[in-house]
């Protein structure tokens, strides 16, 4: 998007940047080419339309959408607090919020298991108060996905909030708008592109989530076995099947990012 910015074209792009840019692109794109060349095209339709594959695909889309919604409801306000609050608590909270980006997802899953599992303190309270048990349920999949994907939304949105600054909000306040009105009528429209791009990133991350899910939720067809889990499991006996299912994930991710992200970045028009 930057390249279409008339100001940047005027300055010109240093040619030397193309070398690392192309190398970097190759590092990301070539493995996808490798995946495609390994695909058994004749068996592809049969492999991706098996009952097990369709059930996993449906579960993946459903849980990723739910966890993205959860990330929006919880992570959106959190980004606003982190960007605007000057409290010590907010400053201390930021590195904690970013932890899932650093933690190996499987460790995140174990952490969830030891917290919300049957023996964990949270799990015991849930059992005591509501009589529910979280591991091995679809809710556990959503929680694991939200855990790993929410930071993407928070980081993206917090950045947008900081870049937007508070000038317009201050103007709105001087014109008599309450903090709530200024937030709704000024802040939110200003950061819509950042929010949209954060939502797309969070959805894509949730879709590909594997480690935390397998550690916390387990793997059972129709309940917790999402597409990445099925890929990992199929790989054990049928590499062709695993590759075909991976391609479904790649196509899904590319569609989501290519179709949704530019629109989101333009402000959800």
């Amino acid at each position: 998007m930057r390249s279409t910015d008339p100001h940047l074209v005027g300055v010109g792009l240093p040619g030397v940047l193309w070398v690392p840019a192309v190398l970097g692109f190759g590092l990301i794109a070539l493995p996808v080419v490798g995946l495609v060349t390994r695909t058994d095209l004749a068996r592809l339709p049969e492999l991706v339309t098996s009952a097990e594959a369709l059930s996993a695909l449906e579960l993946s889309v459903r849980t990723a959408a739910t966890s993205t919604l959860l990330a929006l409801l919880l992570g959106g306000p959190m980004a606003a607090v982190l960007a605007r609050s000057r409290s010590v608590a907010a400053r201390l909270a930021r590195p904690v919020v970013l932890l899932p980006l650093v933690l190996p997802p499987v460790v995140g899953g174990l952490a969830l298991l030891y917290t919300l599992g049957r023996a964990g303190f949270g799990g015991r309270l849930l059992q005591l108060w509501f009589g529910v048990s979280v591991p091995f349920t679809t809710a556990a999949v959503v929680l694991a996905q939200t855990f790993v994907s929410m930071p993407f939304l928070v980081v993206s949105l917090e950045g947008a909030l900081r870049t937007a600054g508070q000038r317009y909000e201050i103007v709105a306040a001087t014109l008599g708008a309450s903090p709530a009105t200024a937030f709704r009528r000024v802040t939110v429209p200003l950061v819509l592109p950042g929010l949209g791009s954060g939502l797309v990133l969070a959805f894509a991350r949730a879709l590909g989530e594997f480690g935390a899910t397998v550690a916390f939720a387990g793997s059972l067809q129709g309940t917790t076995r999402t597409l990445p889990l099925l890929v990992y499991q199929e790989r054990e006996i049928d590499v062709d099947g695993a590759v075909a299912l991976s391609l479904v994930l790649v196509v899904l991710a590319v569609v989501v990012i290519a179709v949704a992200r530019p629109r989101a970045a333009e402000g959800l028009r």
Binding site: L23, L113, R118, V214, S219, L220, I237
Partner: protein, 280 residues
């Protein structure tokens, strides 16, 4: 506007160079990994005094099923003491993943798999020197919480509706064995989860989230105090054989053969049986 351009211009440039360096490093490492050259002198470990060729270390790479980790670690000490200047390097993992790595060019001298099917993958690719030999067996066992609070006494108990049972998926060896037992006994188990790794089954029993899990005897032995094992006679219907083989690509087949001899010999068998494995 102009200030934004300056900031935007210097950041990506510096990180671009760092990225190029990282990409170059990855490419170089990728090329180096594929070559069959022996390890450079002083690469991994310092050569021990009195080595046959001073200043050099011979590296023996063994790809082994994850369940062999503890036992092979013990045997490594024996082997390196008996063969000065040799450094045994292990690549542990799921057998099918290891087989895929070998078929796709991983430089490995010896492959020890947890089932015959994965060894067949490598053998079919024409990469095994000689015939694979069975060196141990492994039997299913039920892992339960310490003290067996749910009173699980046999395989048929796993069908109890009040129990949360975790199994291996049918695609992995422990799951395939377990399905064989189900078929042989006409007992149907409804698990809450089917894991891709036997260690994941163990983790869920250890954490208390599953009441019982079907794992291997060696897995129960690997977590003393954290889980108890319940034997069941039906496990004899699905005994898992572990094959070991030297690979054709090995540049040091006689040294690789020595490792196979140690594993199959009395010293190796003693260590393996202590870890819960059965005799072939």
């Amino acid at each position: 506007m102009s200030r934004r351009h300056r900031v935007a211009g210097s950041g990506p440039r510096r990180s671009g160079i760092a990225l190029a360096a990282a990409a170059a490093a990855v490419l170089v490492a990728g090329c180096g990994g594929g070559s069959p050259e022996p390890a450079p002198p002083g690469g991994a470990a310092a050569p021990s005094a009195g080595a046959p060729a001073p200043g050099t270390t011979t590296k023996l790479t063994v790809s082994a099923a994850a369940s062999l980790t503890t036992a092979f670690g013990r045997l490594q000490e024996q082997f390196e003491a008996a063969n000065p200047g040799v450094d045994v390097v292990f690549n542990y993992g799921g057998s099918s993943g290891l087989a895929q790595q070998i078929v796709n060019g991983a430089p490995v001298d010896v492959f020890a798999a947890a089932n015959t099917a994965t060894m067949d993958t490598v053998a079919k690719a024409g990469m095994v020197a000689g015939a694979p030999l069975t060196f141990v067996t492994n039997k299913l066992e039920i892992a339960v919480a310490p003290g067996n609070p749910k009173g699980i006494t046999g395989f048929k108990d796993l069908a109890r509706p009040d129990l949360k049972v975790v199994l291996c998926a049918r695609q992995v060896p422990c799951g395939a064995s377990e399905k064989t037992v189900e078929a042989a006994t006409s007992i149907t188990i409804k698990p809450v989860s089917e894991e891709s790794e036997v260690t994941s089954v163990l983790t869920k029993v250890e954490s208390g989230d599953a009441d019982a899990g079907v794992v291997y005897a060696t897995d129960v032995r690997s977590a003393p105090g954290k889980v108890d094992g319940v034997n069941f006679p039906e496990a004899d219907k699905a005994i898992n054989a572990y094959p070991i083989a030297v690979l054709k690509q090995s540049s040091q087949p006689s040294l690789a053969g020595k490792w196979v001899d140690l594993v199959r010999g009395p010293d190796g068998q003693k260590v393996l049986q202590a870890a819960g494995f059965g005799t072939p």
